[in-house]
Structure formats: structure tokens, C-alpha cells
């Protein structure tokens, strides 16, 4: 195995998919069987998974509930021990604690101490990285600003809404400026705006050169941000590849044009027919619900108190 364990350079890989060949996560025949107290087999959650996540890419694990996404993530983090095969992170065994120095993890729900406030939470997790006090303060301040919790910084986490909890969870995952971010269902529980922000943030972090492993069953999210995905079903790897190539339908051509008259459309249809093509659809596109919603919110922010479109 040749895995570069040196600290990554911080040179941003600006365009999507410009992942280097440096492997950050590698699993080899990774499998997990859950057993009951008596050692009897209960469920085979993951069967011989082989994936590689390279530096600077956003890797998505996709699949229905119970497909083994979370199990994979927990195995990679060392929260579970594999029944068969091995997982390596930065070239180290996944069960090794020192790998955590460079990892940020956002769990499915933010499992944080509810009796701490935002500042205390970040200070606590900063201490776990043995960060000096001034660095901790500086970093907490930045993150609180970044996730927009500066007004709620002194409130205990038990008073937080779901979205706020999610954000402090994210801040917590970024406290050590990790090279690898592991996100378990990053957008669940977020409203469309929060969800959009989260996705933008993930893309920004990727552009800063960070590697991201995320799992989700929100297909739109995965489509929006992931460079590569693995689709799991019943613990087995079903598909693995680049999102753009996986989704590309080879024999269909899509044309987007603006300001065409009905005559022009008719003419185009004839051209297609003449070239032996088959016209599948010529229509005005609909926007997505997400875009519609975001437009409305943006509009009402700009002109408060008025019904949008009136």
C-alpha cells in the first residue's frame, strides 16, 4: 500500500473534481456483522466494501435506510470495529486514535452536551485537541461568526432549535481545521435555506482543499455537491463513480434557449426530424421547488411586508 501520510498542502483545488491521487480513506474488504449478546448473527450490515476517497474530493455515500451508510462512516471513524477487512484513514488503521487529529465529524444528530453554551462547547472540543488557549478563543470566535450563532453564544444548547444545534455541531467539527470532514446526513433537519447554506459551505471547504465524506439519502443534496458517489444497498456496493458521468444520459441532447417564438420551435422540431432524431419534449422548463422557495425568501427579504409576486 502506498499512502502518503504527509500533511496535505493547503493549495486549493479550485475546480470541482480536481482530486489528487492522494488517498485519504481506503477500505479493503470492509465488512460488519452485528451480533447479539450471545454472539449470534443479527444482521450483516456491510459486506466487503472497497472504496477509496482521494484528497480534495467530496465523496457521497448514498442509499436507503439500513443500507450500511452510517455503518461505513462509523467504521471509518473507529466507532465500530470491522468484522472483516480493514479501513485506513490517512494511512493509519481506523481504530487508531491519532488519526482523529485531522478529522472533523458531524454526527447524524448533533450529540453535544446540552448543558454547555456555544462558547463552552467549542472551548471544550478545542481542549480535546490540546489547542492552546489563545488559538481556542480565536478559532471559536471565527466559527461562531461563520455559523451565525453570535447572538446565541451564551445560551445553553438545550435551548437551541434544531437548525442551531446543527450549526454548532458543524462548528464543533471544524474546530481543529480538519483535512477530512465526515458528515453524517448533513442537511437533515435544516430548512431549505439552511440546507443551501450547508451545501455551499461544503463546496467552499472542498475548494479549500479539504476532503469530505458524507452520507445522505437526500438525493438532491448528493447530486448538488458530491464529486463521486458510492451507492449502497443492503450492505453491498451497487455503484461507484463520478456523479456527472453517472448521471449523464449519453443519447439524449439537451438544448436550452431563450426568446424563441412558436414558429421557431416548430422549425427546430422539423430540423430534428430531418436529421433522423426523435423529439422527446419541447416545453417551458419548470423551476425546482428549492429554487422557487429560495427566490421567494430572497424577494421577501428585499421587500419585507409584501406578498411576493403581487
Amino acid at each position: 500500500m502506498s499512502v502518503d501520510t504527509q500533511a496535505p498542502t493547503n493549495a486549493p483545488s479550485s475546480v470541482a473534481g480536481s482530486a489528487s491521487s492522494e488517498v485519504v480513506i481506503e477500505t479493503r474488504g470492509l465488512g460488519k456483522i452485528y451480533r447479539d449478546f450471545w454472539g449470534r448473527k443479527k444482521v450483516n450490515a456491510l459486506k466487503s466494501l472497497d472504496i477509496e476517497v482521494r484528497k480534495g474530493e467530496i465523496f457521497g455515500l448514498l442509499g436507503p435506510n439500513g443500507s450500511g451508510k452510517s455503518t461505513t462512516i462509523k467504521l471509518v471513524l473507529g466507532l465500530l470495529f470491522p468484522t472483516s477487512g480493514r479501513a485506513f484513514v490517512f494511512g493509519k488503521e481506523a481504530t487508531e486514535v491519532t488519526k482523529n487529529e485531522r478529522i472533523g465529524y458531524l454526527p447524524e444528530e448533533s450529540y453535544l452536551y446540552k448543558f454547555l453554551n456555544a462558547e463552552e462547547t467549542l472551548d471544550f472540543y478545542g481542549r480535546l485537541f490540546d489547542m492552546p488557549a489563545n488559538v481556542r478563543r480565536e478559532r471559536s470566535e471565527q466559527l461562531i461568526q461563520m455559523v451565525g450563532l453570535h447572538r446565541a453564544r451564551r445560551r445553553q444548547l438545550k435551548e437551541y432549535s434544531k437548525g442551531m444545534t446543527r450549526r454548532i455541531g458543524l462548528a464543533q467539527a471544524l474546530i481543529n481545521e480538519p483535512d477530512l470532514l465526515v458528515l453524517d446526513e448533513p442537511t437533515t433537519g435544516l430548512d431549505p435555506i439552511g440546507s443551501r447554506e450547508m451545501k455551499d459551505l461544503i463546496l467552499r471547504l472542498r475548494d479549500q482543499g479539504k476532503t469530505i465524506l458524507m452520507c445522505s439519502h437526500q438525493l438532491a443534496d448528493v447530486e448538488d455537491v458530491c464529486d463521486r458517489i458510492a451507492i449502497l444497498h443492503q450492505g453491498e456496493l451497487k455503484e461507484l463513480g463520478r456523479v456527472d458521468s453517472l448521471l449523464k444520459v449519453q443519447d439524449i441532447t439537451e438544448v436550452h434557449a431563450k426568446g424563441l417564438t412558436e414558429d421557431a420551435k416548430r422549425e427546430i422540431a422539423e430540423v430534428i426530424k430531418r436529421h433522423g432524431g426523435e423529439l422527446l419534449q419541447i416545453d417551458n422548463p419548470t423551476t425546482t421547488m428549492e429554487d422557487l422557495f429560495l427566490d421567494i425568501v430572497r424577494e421577501s427579504d428585499a421587500r419585507p411586508g409584501r406578498r411576493v409576486g403581487s
Binding site: L79, L80, V97, E109, F115, L116, R127, F129, V182
Partner: protein, 596 residues
Amino acid sequence: MRLKPDQLWSFYEWLIPQQGLLQGVALALTLSLFGLFISYVIAMVRLGPGEGFYAVAKIVSDLFRLDLPGTRFSRLWAIAKLSFMEAIRRKVLVVFVIFIILCMFAGWLLDLRTDHPAQLYITFVLSSTNLLVLLLGLFISTFSLPADIKNRTIYTIVTKPVRATEIVIGRIIGFSLIGSMILGLLGVFSYTFVVRGLKHTHEVASISQDGRQGKTDLAALHEHSFKLGADGKGVTSEAKGHQHNVTSIVVDGKTTYKIGPPRGDLTAKVPVYGRLTYTDRRGVVGTGLNVGYMSEYRKFIAGGSLSSAKWQFEGVKERDFEEQDGLVIEMNIEAFRTFKGDIITPVRGSIILRSPDEKVESKRVNFLVKESLDRKIISRKIDGFRDNQPATLDIFKDIVMDGKLEVIVRCEDSQQYLGMAASDLTLQAIERSFEWNFAKGYISIWLQMVIVICFGVMFSTFLSGPVAMVATMSTLGLGLFGSQIDHFFKVQDSGGGPIEAIVRIVTQKGVMLDLDLGNQALEKTIQNIDYVLMYGVSSLKSALPDFNRLGTTDFVVYGVDLFDSLLLRHMAITFGFFLLTSFIGYFFVKTREMAA
């Protein structure tokens, strides 16, 4: 106060000659080997012989290679602080409120008609504090880690570079801190409670014509009589374990009497203990007589013979006794009468002070055996003999040599017997501060609390909260009955161990009969298995804390300065338990799937 012989050992004596250290190391080795063996068996079943061995070896090597060197104070402190805050959030300070309420209703629980109200008060505060703090330690330590695992907050901890050592030790530190805080609060409150509870004054109720003798009024269920010296100063008689200073003040030709606050009820006596040997009727060194009591605590010497009890004291320093009128000896000697005779007159005894080289000795100092705690002051200048020639001696300059002194007690009435144990005759050095002794009592409770927390945290690494609590309680319970358990598991000459006993029950053979199963090999096997079983349990027993022995409440209650050597020993034992439980806890955290 009855002392166990081992309580008199110095720290070094306990550690090395009495094998305290050796036993600790032996226990650690036994447990480690046992633990490794069990782990290997489990790993072998799961992973196969080769991989299993590798897995166990990896965990051991991780401890020394990665986790111990990787342990950082910053992380320890973060986890300690979190545990502290968590405990506060769980409203542990309620314990303090409970204690205050308990003290408010103390009047219902305490019978103030006792002869020693100070002892009663101190017993009350110390034992209730002890109980409350141990329960507190039990609850906070056993529920924390299981709650973290259940709420999955542990996910965000173990995915940081936190070592298993830090998870365990950080918790122990955090809970010990909160416990210390509460114990401190209780201590200060208890002290105030005791001092204020005992505080009282008397007025003079009657005075004799010459103004030299008088009686106080009845206050706090007792009264004193007093005598005044020519200087108008005096002390009252002792009642309820204390005295008062009395001074007469003449103002404008009118005499008033002022009675001070109680004194002598809150003490920290510093007894010097000696090593006791007996001689028999012919003066030959022996073991002392048994007059037929079950208890072997006291041995007896015969009266009117050469039979004697000799205490050899070491570390008798002049400056420790200087401010007193002479050498203060406290005795608690028992008399055993072989004939009734005059039951009112006490049996007579005598004391001789002798130098260790036996060349200088004092004259015989006679005393009447009081059969309860008796205080005798032998004045510093005393007649005696030097090389068998009469001489006037100074106890500290002539008789004591290099801090060594011998005290010989004889029974002067023939056919009567005097019984004594080593702790029944002590030299009393100058008293120390009661406050410090009280504090030492609390340090002792603190040590017990830390042990409870260590065990609680250890069990919580692999058991759920309530189960961990029961496990901790059982451990403490077993520890409490440790000495009794030891008795059960001692391999005895007759009757054998558990398996042999079952065989005997089934075959209806009494313990005095030979087992005789008609098969020598079978008998031998049964006996060997029994031996291993009983030895195993008996050695495991020393892995349990014996709070009977770790409790030092008696010292504070009876006003005896808690020996520093004993406190030091308890600290060492606590540290041993800390190491043991941290190691086991580490092992479980390390091998546990936190997300399972």
C-alpha cells in the same frame, strides 16, 4: 478506642517489611495475567488464535506506546471539568441541603444525656458525612459514562484525539473535584455545628464562705464543682468530658466569678505506642496468659510474681513532652480476679521506667487499676537506681536513651491478673490541634470517596448505570465483610473447601471424619481444586477495599491525633486502587465499540 496491631505500623514498616508493596504488586500481576488470559480467550473465540493474540498484544502495546505518552493534561482537564459541570447540572449540591436539614433535626437523633457529648456530635457529623459523600460518589460516578454512551455524546468525544486513559482518569478527577468541594462544605459546616453545639457557659450557683470552693449551675444537662487557688484562678471538675476555667475578679470590693468556655472536649491527643512483650512467672519472656476469654486481644500477667508486661517505646523526644508536668501515661488495663475478696478495693499494679540498657531504672510507682481509661502523670524528677545505686533521676535526661524507653507493669496482688494489649498503655505527648485532626478525618473520608468513584467509573466503562451502581455497592459490601470472608475462605485443616463440603453433605460425613471416597486420586483432585478456588477468592478479596479498615472516624471521635503514617498508608492504598481501576477502565473503553 481499640487499635488493630497493624494500625501502629509506620509507613515504611507497612510498605516493606509487612509486604504492603509486595502484596500490591502481586495483586496487580495476578489480575493482569488473569485479565490477559480472559481477553485472549475472548479474542481467540472471535478472531482465531493468531489474530486474537495480535489483538490483545496490540492493546497492551498501545497503552505504553501511544496512550500513556499521548495523555495530555489539557484533555484530562477538559473531561474533568465537563464531569464537574455535569454533576453540578445534576444538582449534587442538594446533598449539602440534605445535610443541613439532617443537622437541624439532629436534636431528635442525638441523646445529649450521654457522658461525652463531644464524641456524640463528632460521631454524628462524621458518619453522616461519610455516608452522604460515599453515596454521592456512587451516584455521580456510575451514571455518567453510560449516559454519554446512551445519548451518543461519546461519539463526539472518541472521534477526537482523546485517549481512553483520559476518558477514565478525567472522569475520576472531575468527580473527585466535585466530591471534594461538597466534602469541604460539609466539613466547614460540621465543624461549626460541633463547636456551636458544645458551646455553653455556666453561672456560679453557690460558693463557700472563704470563696475558694463552689458549684456551677445546671447548664447543658450537667454541673461542675470547682476550687480556686490563692491567685483566684482554678478549673472546674470534669463533667461530660470537659472542664471550664474559673477566675474570680474583684471589682470595687465585690467579687464576681467568671466561667470560661468548655475545654478539653475537643482534643487531638498524641499517644506514643510501644511494643509489648510479656514475661511469665519466672521472669522468662513469654506470650502472656489467657484467662479463658474468647478474645485474644488482651493477654494477662499474674500478680505477685516475676510476671510482667514490658512496653518498649521508641521516638520519645523530650520536646514532645516538655510543657507537661512530667511523663503522662494513659492506661486502660483490665483486672481479672481469681477471688472476689474485697470487690471495692481495686487491684494494685506498679510501673517502673527503665532505660533500654537496663542500667538505669526508676523506683516502683504504684497505682490502683481503674479498669477504664486512666491518666497518670509521673513527675520528671524521680528517685531510682543507676547501676543498682540509689540516685535521683530525670526521666528524659537519665532514663530515656536515644528516644528509647521501657515501661514495665506488674501486678502487685498475688492471685490476681492484669490484662493488657499493646495499645493499652501509651505515653501522651503534647496535644495537637483538634481542627487539624478533624481535617485529617475528612481527608480520610475523601480517600474513601475517591475509591468509590474509582470503582464506579471502572464499572461504568462496561456496565449500564444502574448495574454499575449495584456492582460498585457489592464491591464495597464485599470489602466491608472482607475479614469475615477471609475467615470463610481460609483453607482449614478439617472439612475442606466448597467441593469437599458438598461431597461431605451428600455423603453425610462430619468434618472430623476422613473424606475417604475410596479413590485417593479423586480426593486429591477435589482438595486441589478447592485450594485453588479458595486461594483465588481470598487473593481477590484484597482487590476489594475494606472500609472497616480505611475508616478512621474513631480517632477523631476519641480525640486521638490520627497517625500520619496511617493516613499516608491509606493514601497509598487509594492510589493503588486508582491505578488498578484506571487500568481496567482503560481496557474496557479501549475495546468497547462505542457505537454498538
